[in-house]
Structures are given as C-alpha cells and as structure tokens.
C-alpha cells in the first residue's frame, strides 16, 4: 500500500505535551500496511500475529466486554475513534478501558479531535490526543488546562469534590 493512504497525526499531545509521533494510522479494513509502527482497524489487528509495532483503533460503537478487554490488554496502545466530535461514545469507552479493565498503555483519541474536547478527554483517560490537522497547538494546550477543579471523579482523580471537601473539613 502506498504511504499516501496512511494518516499521520501532525500534532500529537502526549501527557499534556506536544510530541513527535511515530505511529501511522490506517483506516483500510482489509489490508495490513507495510509501515511500522501502525494503528489499524480492530478486526485487522485481532487477526494479525502479535507485533509490538501494531496497535488497534476502536470505532465509537465498540462494545467492550471482558473478552475484548483481555485481548486489548496486550496492545501497545489503543486508539479510539471520534467519527464526529459530537459523538460522545468514545469518552465512555476510554473510561471503561481505564477504570474497569485497568488498561495501562496509551489510550489515544483519533479522528475529529478538537481543541474544546481535550479537557474532557484527558479526564476520561485519554493520554494521547491526535489533534485534527487544522487545530492550533497553542489553543489546545491552553484548553487542556481550562479547569483547575472538577466536581466528579475521573481517571485523573478518584475523589469526587464532595469527598474532597469533607476530607479537607476534617483536616485531611
């Protein structure tokens, strides 16, 4: 396959910092690209031999169950696709991967990844954000730090604000 059919994140934010990205992304369902490392559709990844240079991406309608989670545990990274920025299923998928199944590798947001979603994404457990190519890096870094306080627990903090208040009131 010619490289032109592969996507490369122009701007990747990893753990809050811009990073040079090694991984290419293929959306071709039926053919494994030559290039490594590469992120490929889930089914293609499942059908391939174990290769640390291959990683899966999940469509937003994926239903994660124990079996799939056990398979994904072996992946060097898991990407979750946002086919449209208004499709919020990926947020739940990331939380399930992290909180229920304890996935420790990179969880990467791909697709329609826009500046104003990044704060929520990072709270849901995405630690790598492949910005859509027209997004501005400085806007993105600013948006990531939009809030210094949250009411709910998330992957970033297991404590709800109401619990934190009680702890602080009790001198904790």
């Amino acid at each position: 396959m010619p490289d032109t059919q592969l996507e490369h994140a122009q701007t990747l934010i990893k753990l809050g910092q811009p990073e040079q990205d090694e991984w290419a992304l293929s959306r071709i369902d039926d053919k494994l690209p030559e290039r490594r490392p590469v992120i490929v559709p889930l089914a293609l990844w499942q059908a391939s031999d174990a290769d640390p240079q291959l990683a899966p991406w999940l469509p937003s309608d994926t239903v994660i169950d124990d079996e799939l989670a056990a398979t994904l545990a072996k992946a060097p990274l898991v990407a979750i696709d946002f086919p449209a920025f208004t499709d919020g299923r990926g947020y739940s998928l990331a939380r399930l991967l992290r909180e229920r199944y304890g996935y420790q590798g990179e969880v990467r947001a791909i697709g329609d990844v826009l500046v104003d979603q990044l704060f929520y994404m990072s709270r849901c457990g995405f630690d790598a954000l492949a910005l859509r190519e027209d997004q501005h890096l400085d806007d993105a870094l600013r948006a990531l730090g939009a809030f210094s306080v949250s009411y709910q627990p998330g992957v970033d903090s297991q404590e709800a604000l109401f619990e934190r208040r009680l702890r602080e009131a009790n001198g904790g």
Binding site: G88, R89, Y91, S92, D116, S150, Y151, F162
Partner: protein, 550 residues
C-alpha cells in the same frame, strides 16, 4: 439556599474564561460555527429568529434576592429590560448581542450563577418542586439531592456529547409537582416502612415529538447509590442511544426499543461495576449538602395574628380570592407560600421586567428571607410569608400587577416564547395565550371551571408542555400557514397522562371559540365538583370532538 465555596466559584470563573476564549476564537475565524455551536449551546447561547437568546440556569428554581436584582441589571445593561421565566425554571434573555455573552456570564458568576448546560446534548438543569422544603406533604427535601446532582452533572467529562438533551427532575413530596414522569429521568424520594430513604427511578419519559410517560427502572434505590446509579443510566444511554436520527435520539426511544426489562438489565450490569465506587454518598456528604438548606429563623406567629388573617379572609372578597388561589399552605403553622402570578394580558406568560425584578427582590427580602423560587408553571413563589404579612404583601403585589388571583385556573397558561422569538417555532404562541386570557377573564367563570392546566407550544418540541396540559394547544405549520392542534386529557402530576388530539387543526382566530366549546362540554357534563380532567376521563374524547367539529 446553596452558597458557592471557592471551588464552585473557581469553576464558574474558569468556565467564563473558557467561553471568552472560545468566543474570541470564533470571532477570529478559528472556530467555525458548526464547531462553536455545541459549545455556545452548553453555555445557554442560541442563535434565534431575531437575535441570540441566552438561557440562564436557575438550579432547581432557587433564586436569592441578590441574584434576581443582578438578573434585572443584566437585562437592562445587555438586553431590553425584561426576561422570560421558562417551564424548566430557567430565565431567558431574548435580545443579547453575541459578543456581549462572555461579559454577561462574568456578571452572572459574580452572583454565583451561570448558563452551563442550559442547552445542548448534555445533562440539563435539574428541576424540582417549587414548594421544596416547605410543603406539608413533603417526605424529603429534594433540594440537597438536586444540588448533589447539579454538581455531579456539571461539566461531567463523559456526558458532554450525549445523543440528545437529558433532563432530570426530582420530587420529594406525596404529590408530584415536578412532572417527574415526563423527564428523561424522574426521581422520587420516599421512605420505606423502616423509615429509610429510597429513590424511585423512572426513565424514558419526555415530551417533544414523541411524548412518553417514563417507566420505573428501580423502585427502591438506597440513597447512597443515587449518583452511581445515575451514572450507570446515562452511560447506557450514551453508548446505546440512537445517534443516526436526531428525532429518535432521546432516551425514551432507547427505553422503548429495548423494553424496560432489557434497559434495566443493562443499567444494572453497568451499575454492578460502579456501585460502592468513588461517588457513593455517605451520611456525612448528604448532611453537608443539607446544611445549605437549613430552616430560616422563622419567628412565632401568634394565634391572634392567624385569627386576624382568617377574619380578613372572611370579610374581604378580593383578598379571599387571592388567598384561595395564590397562597399555599406551609408545613409551619402561621406561614404560607405565595405564588406571584406572571400571567397577565399585557405581557407574555413568564415575562418579568427589570423593574419588577427589583421590586420582587425587595419583597423577597421584606417578606420571605430574601429567597424565591421559579415554578415550572412560569410563576414565582415567596415561600415563607407569615400570615400577618399576607395582606400587606398582597397589596404590594397588586400594584406590581402580580396578584392576579388566577393561579391554577385556565388563565394561568403555560406558554413557550413561540414564533415571536423562537427559531424553531412553527407558529406564534404568546398571542394565543393573550387571546385566551382576554376571552376568559371573568373570575367567577374561571373559579367555576376549577383547576385547568392550559399549555401552549409553538412547535412539537413542546417547551410549553402541551402534551400534559388538561387542554393542550400546539402550533403547526401547513404550507407556510399557522394552524393550531388542540388536545385534551393531558396531565403532568401523579396520574400523568398524555393529551389526545381532538382532530384537524384550527385557524388562529378560531382557537378561543374552540376552547369555549370544549369548556361548555365540560360544564354541561360534569358531576358535582368533578374536575375537568376527571370529566374527560369519564366521558372520553367523543363528546368534545362532536361539539367542536359540529
């Protein structure tokens, strides 16, 4: 009422800064309208027919006098000196300038207010009983629970892009005054035989294009699990709710498609993992929330004062009318809750001018501990008025034009802004309300009719809750012409029901005449003190239909 601490304040301040940045990027061309749209909606900002519209959150309808004064000032500075209270206990500004909105939000933040999640496909303002905390039939004050839900749902990172909007209502009384059966999730707080607090959870109710009554997902959820259970419900909806068709995207469609058993099974499967997790409520956490809603320092009202009030009521007919219709019993003897009617012909239902806001704020301070409530019927309530001050308050309300003794009558119309303002509307609704108020203004006639909810929506989105009006009016568009469809038999309270459409729709000018015929059938057929709704339920649609289309 709830007062912000530094965390709440920081959050709304940072929200203002975030929106200022988004607006600047939008105006600079770095954030195109289609991507800006969900962001502005989640800050309450619509682009409407004539101008932008800003919907300001009034969490579960609780408002302080300071906040109301600030709202009045905002309508003067940034709008045309009035605002519109909505059926979801919020306030809408009809004419703000787009670029002023960050400033408006900053002014709101100064009085612990915001417009967060008042629109968009996210969890909206949680609504409740306007008599929360003072109702005689209350089992549990819903406000601390509403506040816990408000915090849980505010900027929830997982649920900002749901398939569609999501509305939660909470009731803690014997009578449901929060319309919990027609919300995406309705919660009812109750005590079991051991006296422990349980939550009944309904899901899948709603109005709009496909009106439905909610199904019971769980009868007796222990209170500790409220937030984790809500999280499970919304997560199931987020993952499985339809996203291919905006008109089929509400949770009610999912609940009906799966069936309540399967929906419950999925919620329970999800909840099994969340139960007892980080958001499990403790007694200490609930007590901390309750501390914000302590009883005000009500002085004793003497028996003499109560006797004097009763005597005045017996001798002054106008006062008696006001008390009968606009005054509600209080759990504390000697105190009453007073409903300020925002229904008068000169204004659209729910509209209040800035000067009236100032005046009402003064009244709240002088008569009711500086607090007031917004009702889903688009009125205001002063919740703690001693009986010996009712007469004075009544006279002040008279001079403000807010003492119309018609609360709960046909004249107390619920009405959306309609085609005069709203970009979605198919037809006007305010002029219909005004025409009806003009036609049916005779008090003796209104009282003889008894309690009738007449609700008007200018389109099928049903902001005027027409499906659950005893009489409902819906504006429809037929080839560019405005018509009105009339239904009867809806009800939003405990025995909730959806209205049935009479038949083909009517021209605008015919609507008052049609309503008159509907009322005549009721008056002729009713038994003794039978309410309109009960007569309809007994005799059915047919007699109404025959008269109207005769």
């Amino acid at each position: 009422m709830y007062r912000y601490d530094t965390y709440d304040q920081t959050l709304v301040d940072e929200r203002v800064a975030q929106f200022r940045d988004q607006m600047a990027r939008h105006l600079a061309g770095r954030l195109p309208e289609e991507e800006f749209r969900p962001l502005r909606l989640q800050n309450g900002l619509y682009i409407q027919k004539h101008a932008p519209m800003l919907r300001i959150a009034i969490p579960y309808g609780m408002l302080s006098s300071t906040q109301l004064r600030a709202l009045g000032e905002i309508t003067r500075r940034y709008d045309r000196g009035y605002g519109h209270f909505t059926t979801r206990q919020n306030l809408q500004l009809n004419w703000p300038a787009l670029e002023d909105v960050p400033e408006i939000l900053a002014d709101l933040a100064k009085v612990q207010m915001h417009a967060i999640q008042t629109s968009g496909n996210c969890i909206r303002n949680t609504t409740s009983d306007q008599f929360a905390g003072i109702a005689k039939d209350e089992v549990e004050d819903p406000r601390p629970w509403c506040e816990l839900i408000r915090q849980w749902s505010t900027l929830h990172p997982e649920f900002a892009f749901l398939p569609r909007k999501f509305k939660i209502a909470v009731s803690g009384a014997a009578e449901d005054r929060a319309a919990i059966q027609v919300h995406d999730i309705g919660l009812r707080l109750w005590h079991d035989s051991d006296g422990s607090l349980k939550v009944k959870v309904l899901a899948g109710g709603g109005l709009g294009r496909t009106p439905m009554i909610g199904d019971v997902v769980r009868e007796d959820l222990p209170w500790q699990h409220l937030l984790t259970y809500l999280e499970a419900c919304v997560r199931v909806y987020n993952q499985f709710g339809r996203r291919d068709n905006k008109f089929k995207a509400r949770i009610k469609i999912l609940v009906k498609a799966l069936g309540i058993e399967e929906f419950r099974r999925r919620v329970d499967a999800e909840w099994a993992h969340l139960k007892d997790g980080p958001q499990t409520l403790t007694q200490e956490a609930v007590d901390a929330a309750r501390e914000h809603f302590v009883e005000p320092e009500r002085g004793d009202v003497s028996e003499q004062a109560t006797a004097a009030f009763e005597a005045l009521r017996a001798e002054n007919r106008a006062f008696a009318r006001f008390v009968t219709n606009n005054v509600t019993d209080h759990k504390v003897p000697g105190y009453k809750a007073v409903t300020l009617s925002l229904k008068r012909r000169e204004h659209a239902p729910g509209d209040v001018t800035a000067d009236q806001m100032d005046a009402v704020a003064d009244l709240a301070e002088r008569y009711s501990f500086g607090e007031l409530r917004v009702t889903h019927e688009q009125n205001l309530v002063l919740s703690d008025v001693p009986v010996d001050q009712l007469e004075a308050l009544w006279q002040e309300l008279e001079s403000l034009g807010m003492a119309n003794p018609t609360v709960g009558t046909l004249n107390d119309i619920i009405c959306c802004p309609g085609g005069d303002y709203c970009g979605l509307a198919n037809a006007v609704s305010i002029p219909i309300a005004q025409a009806l108020q003009e036609r049916f203004e005779d008090l003796d006639f209104l009282y003889d009719l008894g309690p009738i909810d007449l609700n008007i929506s200018g389109c099928m989105n049903a902001c005027g809750h027409h499906h659950v009006g005893h009489i409902g009016i819906l504006g429809v568009d037929k080839k560019g012409e405005e018509y009105y469809q009339i239904s009867v038999g809806g009800n939003a309270t405990d025995d909730a029901s959806l209205g049935k459409i009479l038949g083909p729709s009517f021209y605008r000018e015919d609507v008052p005449g049609v309503i008159d015929k509907v009322l005549k059938v009721y008056v002729e057929q009713r038994h003794d003190d039978e309410r309109f709704l009960d007569t309809y339920r007994r005799i059915g649609l047919k007699p109404f239909k025959e008269r109207v289309y005769a």
